[in-house]
Each structure stands twice: as C-alpha cells, then as structure tokens.
C-alpha cells in the first residue's frame, strides 16, 4: 500500500498535471524524498533551504496540520492521506485587498 498525496494546482507542473500522486515513507521527510525522486523539484517548493516547512505551505495528514504532529518528523502509515495546500487566510479576497493596502 502507498500514501496518497493531493497536490494543489500551483504545484502540478512538478507532477505532470496529476492531482493525486502516490509515495512511500515512514515520516513526512521520507515521503517528500520519495516524491522528489519521482517528481523532481517538488520538495524544493515545500521545504526552505534551511530545511523547514515553507511558511506558506500547509501539509495535512488525514486532515490534521502536520506542524502539530511533529512537522517533517511526523510519523506516517500506509493508507494515510496527505493534502498539500498553499496558506491562505479565510475571506481570502478581503485579506488580499487589505494586504495590498498595507504593502504586505
């Protein structure tokens, strides 16, 4: 069995357009290495040069934010479902306009 990974639109250029890819690994870190071997460059969009999760990337294991489960050390099991999403705030339009005002 494998681990199913849902890839957001903006990262599908790395997966040949695929919305769902499969990978393997005992930890999130291991899974990302495995994915990067198949989809070169993907890991570099999720992890910073310092080795942490990118600030604007959220990764969920079975709907739970991985940052509260050990981040890259989070333990994974076969059959887990992983979702990768860009960080956006609720009411995205409001924040986008607001952020523009404040030059953020």
């Amino acid at each position: 069995m494998a681990i199913e990974v849902r890839v957001p639109t903006i990262l599908r250029s790395y997966t040949g357009g695929s919305k769902i890819v499969e990978g393997a690994g005992d930890t999130l870190s291991g899974l990302l290495d495995d994915l990067d071997a198949k989809h070169s460059g993907l890991k570099g969009r999720l992890i910073t040069p310092e080795g942490g999760l990118h600030r604007f990337v959220n990764i969920y294991v079975n709907d739970e934010d991985v940052r509260f489960l050990g981040a890259l050390d989070a333990k994974l099991n076969d059959g887990d479902s992983i979702t990768i999403l860009p960080a956006v705030a609720g009411g995205a339009l409001g924040f986008a306009a607001a952020a523009a005002f404040f030059g953020r």
Binding site: P8, T9, I10, L11, R45, H54, R55, F56, V57, N58, Y60, D63, E64, D65, R67, F68, T83, L85, P86, A87, V88, A89, G90, G91, A92, L93, G94, F95, A96, A97, A98, A99, A100, F101, F102, R104
Partner: protein, 321 residues
C-alpha cells in the same frame, strides 16, 4: 442581565448550550464527554464578528486614529463588514466596503441596510482585480481609515477580554476549546486567556478546506499567514472539507435544533473528532466550540437541501466560512 443602554452594550454575553444528542455516548461508568456550543449568532448583527468590530473601532478612537465623521474602509464582504457597518452607524462613521460583484445578495442587502457604501470590483477580474481596485481607492483617499482585522491586536483582545472569560465562567470544567481559523483572532485571544487559567487546556483550530478555485494563487509565495497568528497558542489544527462542514451543519439543525452557517459545521466536525478521541482514551472532556453565525445569509446557496454532493457543488469556489 437583560437590559442594556444601547445595542453596542449588548455585544457578547452569549449563551453556552449543551448538545446532549450530538455528544458521544460513553461506556457505562466512564467519565462524561460533553459538547457545548457558544451561540455567537446571538450578537447584535448575528455573528461573532461584532466583538472584534466593536473593539477595533474603540481602539482606533482611543488612539486618535479615528475621529468623528471619519470614513472606515474595509475590503470585506463577510460578517466583519456587516458588524463594522452597524458599529460605524451607531458611532458616527461612514463605512465603505470593497467587494467583488459576485457575492451573495443577502450580504449586499444587509450592508446597504446598515448604511454601508459598496464599491464593487469586477467578478471576472478575480482577487487580483479586487486588490487593484483597493489600491486605487487607497491612493485616492489617504485619509480613510483601515482597521485591518488580520493584523489588528484589538481583534484578538476582544476575545481575550470577553469570549475567554465568558467561557470559563459558564464552563469551569472546560478541557477543549474549538473555533474557526480565519483572521485567527478568536483562537489567539480566547486561547491565550484559557491557557493562562486552565491547566492542560486543548486549543483546537478548524480551518475550512475550500474548492480549488479559492487557492488559485500563481505561486506559493503569494500565500498569506495573518499577522495575528501564533502557532504556539494551538495544540491542533484540522482542515475540514466542504462536504464534512455541510454534513455537520445539517446535523446541528436536525439533531440539536441549531441553525448555523457552514463555518460552524466545520468547527463541530473538529469538536466531534476530539470528543471521540476522549471517549476512546476514557478521559473526561468538556468541549466548547463556537457557533459563528446563523444560516440565514447562506440559504441562497441552496446547500441546506439536496444531497451532500449537490451541496458540495453549490459551494464550490465559494468562501463558505
């Protein structure tokens, strides 16, 4: 207390009600696991946003940023806009909202009734166009005041000083607090207060997982984390799909008679997850969660009827929380 000098004084003090039917059943002899809903739809304009709107305006008044007759500018189409419109009316300010022209008619009608002026940005232009319009307005009116709820400390302070103490007063045995994650104000303010007062309190975030269109950024670096957000206040963070949110919203009204908006359903979904874990672990739990608003503003989506798949399709591409 049931008598107030004005509507603004009636903000907060909302009821906390038990959910005996939706709370999980525990084995005989096991400690109780109970769900409690804080009915924030009982605020003056019908949502939890009345608390931060009032606090942000008062804070701007006290700091001298906002003076009588000033114009407040808020690029939002949601509950914060409606709450600000009421506060602005009663405190003597003009409110201008910037929003895309394809938002629900309930919101436009409500904002107009409260006296807000609306500047529309073209629906076809998406959020990029809305940002362009907002920038242009800002340049033309540098004297207009923006409260910026995502980075305004008074937003979180409203919950630290009101929502948190109310919860602890009504439920001294509280073990978990679950709320929605948008501006993060509710969780940051209430969470900080409860952490100071309740040993081992669990602060749990429920975040809406929207359809793909909502995440239509060009690249990851266009993402955004609200300035108010501090991950150390939280213990866990759940991403809740549209389908799960709709399912729980329907259960709320069908099982407990609470007619709520979809963000409340998403929060209930996370609350039920931690409640069931407590049952499994054989631990006592008093899980309090937030009903953000009533369902009235969302009836036109059609997502309260039909199959879950119909509802999911109706909400596709919409910001339902």
């Amino acid at each position: 207390m049931a008598r107030y000098e004005s509507l603004l004084d009636a903000c907060g003090g909302t009821p906390l009600v038990g959910l005996p039917r939706l709370s999980p059943t525990v084995p005989e002899g096991a400690p109780p696991v109970r769900l409690w809903a804080k009915l924030e739809d009982r605020n003056p304009t019908g949502s939890i946003k009345d608390r931060p709107a009032l606090y942000m305006v008062r804070d701007a008044e006290e700091s001298g940023r906002l003076r009588p007759g000033d114009t407040i500018l808020e690029p939002t189409s949601g509950n914060t806009g409606i709450a600000l419109a009421m506060v602005a009316k009663l405190r003597g300010y003009r409110l201008v909202c910037v929003m895309p022209e394809n938002v629900s008619s309930e919101r436009i009608q409500l904002l107009r009734m409260y006296g807000a002026e609306i500047i529309f940005s073209p629906a076809a232009g998406g959020s990029n166009q809305a940002v362009a319009v907002a920038k242009q307005i800002s340049a033309e009116h540098p004297d207009w005041v923006m409260l910026f709820q995502y980075g305004n400390a008074a937003n979180a302070r409203a919950h630290y000083e009101t929502t948190g103490p109310e919860l602890l007063h009504d439920l001294p045995t509280i073990t978990h607090f679950v709320a929605g994650l948008g501006t993060t104000g509710t969780l940051m303010g209430t969470g900080r207060y409860l952490r100071e007062k309740v040993e081992d309190i669990q602060i749990v975030a429920a975040e809406p997982r929207y359809g793909e269109l909502v995440y239509g950024l060009r690249n990851i670096d266009e993402g955004y984390v609200p300035e108010l957000y501090d991950a150390t206040v939280l213990n866990r963070r759940f991403s809740v799909s549209t389908r799960d949110a709709v399912l729980r919203t329907r259960q709320l009204v069908e099982v407990e008679g609470i007619f709520a908006g979809f963000s409340s359903g998403a929060i209930l979904h996370a609350a039920l997850a931690v409640a069931h874990e407590a049952v499994k672990a054989g631990k006592r739990a008093d899980v309090a969660f937030v009903i953000c608003d009533g369902g009235w503003k969302y009836l036109s989506t059609g997502a309260y009827g039909g199959t879950l798949t119909d509802a999911e399709e109706a909400l596709e591409g919409q910001l339902w929380a």
